[in-house]
Subunit: 140 residues, 2 copies
DNA sequence: ACATTTTATTGACAAAGTCCATAACTTGAT
DNA sequence: ATCAAGTTATGGACTTTGTCAATAAAATGT
């Protein structure tokens, strides 16, 4: 069958399956760009209770294994999304924090080549566009 | 004369001149990419004492008026620099946090044009290159 | 089903920043 | 210079976001 199999997905990445991790993974998928706190809320609505630490553990583990991605915009707690592996970026409203995905403007691996790498070994280029969202624009 | 005139610079931007703001501005210039805490330390070494709130106020005001720039890398407190207006980016070591400037790879205003702006009015494109610095590379 | 290893829970703790009331200072007008 | 009005700094409490550490519980392989 073709239903997504979250448990198998975890096992495939060598992550032991727990109810908490499954619920966190599902919550991140259902609410892209959610904060740890929001995700904890969603998880509690689904499985009743989960400790804050378990949420952080699960998010950290999933991010480390590449199943989800952590983004940490200025002035905001960390956010998480399940869209990974396609090098997309984010567009964030300075007023309300609304966050949307943006495909890369420059091409496949856009800015991954810095003009001068100063001897660093670069593994990721993170791009955040800051601005004002349509809703907040209309409110002015 | 051509000595930089910080007080005049502040007045030019409509910012009342205070000893705290001058010292903060000087500290940011002297120590690019410093955290609020480090800047507070530098300022105390120079003028004896300053409250945490005054440091945050000054940094916020200076950033708002465009005299300094605030950058907020994931997993690090906010950092400040006085190099503004040239759309440069940052290269940060995942291991030790060392931060260096990088000129934009793509040109003048590089990624400022997102592929799809989703109705947002974009005012800044922030690019952070993540990697490992030469020092940390050598230590492995 | 069992032993071992990993994970979850709970509560204390830490870092970074904000809020608020009072005191001090800046500025512009006298 | 001086003074009033508005702004800024100070000090302390507080909030948010996240981590640490010890114990309890659950997952995995045999």
């Amino acid at each position: 069958m073709m239903t997504d199999d979250p448990a198998g997905l975890l096992r495939k990445h060598g992550i032991p399956v727990t109810a908490q991790r499954l619920a966190v993974l599902r919550a991140v998928s259902a609410r892209p760009h959610g904060t740890a706190d929001a995700i904890a809320g969603d998880v509690r609505a689904e499985i009743g209770t989960i400790s804050r630490q378990a949420v952080y553990n699960a998010l950290g583990m999933l991010a480390e294994k590449g199943l989800i991605r952590r983004i940490q915009p200025a002035g905001s707690p960390a956010r998480f999304e399940n869209r990974v592996g396609d090098n997309h970026h984010h567009l964030i409203c300075r007023t309300c924090g609304r966050t949307v995905d943006v495909d890369c403007a420059v091409g496949e691996t856009p800015c991954l080549a810095a003009a001068d790498d100063s001897g660093y070994r670069i593994d990721e280029a993170e791009v955040i566009y800051w601005g004002t969202c349509p809703v907040c624009l209309a409110k002015r």
